[in-house]
Symmetry: C2
Subunit: 144 residues, 2 copies
């Protein structure tokens, strides 16, 4: 669609998710996942932040809001937020809520390379877990 092409020909990134959108599907919790709920929330939010989807100073939903949306205890979401803050990805404040810290998106060339690999893996019929397995093996292989 031309509507998704900027004037310089590069594709427009999708609009960043609102706080409501995070609990409405952008972040999900699968009870069958090997990691627990807190870790699933943490890692998905971290990915959105580092991948540039959640921009600097973007507001995250309140602990209670996200917990309600994801059907989790508030303390569980609070744990995920605490860990994001400990990692420097967000800052939290009473009354002010939680916001993304500036400068947490990773370098754009690496993000573009991730897209290339994701497309190739999909084209080869892999699922995400398999793609991640290949990355892990490739990571070991490129250690030297």
């Amino acid at each position: 669609m031309n509507a998704s092409i900027a004037s310089d020909g590069s594709p427009r990134p999708p609009a960043p998710p609102t706080p409501e959108a995070l609990g409405a599907g952008a972040v999900t919790v699968d009870p069958a996942h090997p990691s627990g709920p807190a870790e699933q929330v943490r890692s998905q939010l971290a990915a959105l932040i580092q991948g540039g989807v959640l921009a600097a100073n973007a507001k995250l939903p309140t602990v209670r809001q996200l917990a309600g949306d994801l059907r989790l205890a508030a303390g569980t979401v609070a744990k995920a937020y605490r860990e994001l803050e400990a990692a420097g990805l967000v800052r939290t404040g009473r009354a002010a809520g939680t916001r993304v810290n500036p400068g947490q998106g990773l370098a754009a060339p690496a993000r573009a390379e991730a897209l290339v690999f994701a497309r190739a893996a999909r084209a080869a019929g892999l699922n995400l877990e398999q793609a991640q397995a290949l990355l892990a093996v490739g990571w070991d292989r490129t250690a030297s």
Copy 2:
């Protein structure tokens, strides 16, 4: 090194790990990891199999051997092996032990793409968790 270059100029893959090597470092368990020990063993072995590092019919260490090497309970390794078998990656047999099923390595072009991305991510100064985060975001983005 020329010794690692095949006669057609392509790099030689490293030798596949022996059963002993799996418990001696090729597979590791980090108690601080968000996933539990069984899942860490399962996912690392799955990656080695799908990444072609463990070849068809390669023998895995016995449950007791790997458990001892990784300082886990045997039942925990047995759980990982059961899940690998349920996924069709391995076959287990009393007395015969556990072997990799043929045909479980994923397509070589996708593996090569994973290497390219791993190198690019390392060159950008990312760690593996960050690279996996970018892959997850890229995966969502290429869903259409």
